[in-house]
Amino acid sequence: QKIGLAMAQLDTFLTILKNGTLDAGKKAGATVQVEDAGNDVGKQLSQIQNLIAQKVDAIIVNPVDTDATPKITKMVTDAKIPLVYVNRKPVDFDKLPAGVAFVASDEKVSGTVQTQEVCRLLKGQGHVLVLMGELSNEAARTRTKDIEDVVATKACSGLKIVDKREGAWDRTKGQDITTNWLSSGVKFDAIIANNDEMAIGAINALKAGKKWTPNSIVAGIDATPDALASMKAGDLKVTVFQNAAGQGSGAVDAALKLIKKQPVERFVNVPFELVTPANLAKYSGKN
């Protein structure tokens, strides 16, 4: 079988997801053709159209824009090709026709468990800074919103968000923003980043600025190998494991079933898991 995989982009996390897909494909004896849209909606639409013209047997889409999915759904189902969304929740999730599935973790969870853990570490009291992902990106918005929601809960009402900056998922940007914070004399007790890369950048900056103490709290999301290593070294305090490889293989499984016209749940959940130094060992090598 030929499966088309349309990725929104290939950052560290999505690369792991993509690799999971390729591995699962290989095991099942299917060829997987990868397209990278570089975060461009228009480009992704074109790539999907190219895949349809190619007459692949199934298409797995990691949508750049979850709001553009009705169009994708229509295009692909019109061509009578099975479709699986992965990682990002399509806006038309509730209306997905038969022959279309969604494999992901529930994004609402990630920022929430992350912030709850920070809140626990701070005992519900303190100033936090937020490093946001690319503002035009869904995950950045959801995760930031999660943080705000948790801070609004009673248990964590002692937390205060002092400043939010766009670090665009990027380690160096996270590093520079943190250094700028330090030099501006902003008082804070924790930095919550929308992903691990920015969190590691923040840790680098704290160390370079001689503001690092073993008790400094920096939290990320993704549990990338770098993040796990950092946690192992006692630096990163919180991250959230999103089973990228699991999502990838789940997507392939769903696609293969759909090709064979077997029933597939509309939503295949691959849960988020909180990672702290306490349960770190369980995750090393997984992503």
């Binding site: 053709q33 990278d36 909606v41 159209q49 824009d65």
Partner: protein
Amino acid sequence: MSVGNPSVGAQSMTFKPSRRKWPPELGIFLVLVGISLFFEALGWWVNGQSFLMNPERLQIIILQMAVIGIIAIGVNLVIITSGIDLSSGSVVAAAAVVSASLAQVSDFPRAVFPHLTDLPMVWPLLAGTTIGLLIGLLNGSLIAFTMIPPFIATLGTMVAARGFAKWFTGGMPVSMLTDDFAWIGSGAVPVFIFLTLAAIFHVVLRYTRFGKFTYAIGANRQAAIVSGINVNRHLIWVYTIAGLLSGIAGSVTAARAISGQSGMGVMYELDAIAAVVIGGTSLSGGIGRITGTLIGVLILGVMTSGFTFIRIDAYYQEMVKGAIIVAAVVADQYRQRNRRG
């Protein structure tokens, strides 16, 4: 053969319209044909099927580039005046979010303008176009009146327009658009818009005074001024048109995706400039035609489809793409030099 006729001396002026003139686009057209045939051959070999003899693919080749193509028309004008427009991609984003915000359906609870929903297609389209026009006007005015280099003026509006789009949407996508509006981006409509605009500006450049002045300004700005051309006014027009076309491209993008987002159109300016330059327009101004730009756009489109077709790995794809862009222009250059002798 000698020029002039010694027997009539100074009176001699020999016109030789007999000398066969090939259109300057011939070279790059051959490159396009070459690339297509390359994929055709590889297609049979790798896939056992034809690359070109597939109507769906032919349509997608243009369709996926229609938005870039619409931008490239305006960018071509700008580059012919020896300017540059870096703001196109950001204008696409600004126009996309604004037009989408006026094209939302009324049963969507989180509309940007809850009182302006279910509008007929013309309003959002007009709004997007107007945003583009205004940013273009700003570009043109900055360049004409403050004399700062176009690169800086449009770099500034590039950053600012992207910021505007983010601010306008608060980073959220503007979704749930009317079918009426979505029609602009459906089927072959974007291709139709692109080709119509291309035809119009082809005529404008070749047969109107506006076109002649555009070339003159690019060839020698000082000489254009002394020849009585109102260079400032003309430049404002050119940048405004470029902005307007990017605005249309933005509306089309929103209609295609059925959503307006501040992250749309990133780096489109580079693709558009690449298409224009591949198409034979000189970055130092004064030279360039829409037909060339059309071919440049097609080369980029064929390349994109071709890569998917022969299933080249995404990791190699960019390396090959870079090489092809360079090779295409080198081949064209080589042909032209040979012809010149």
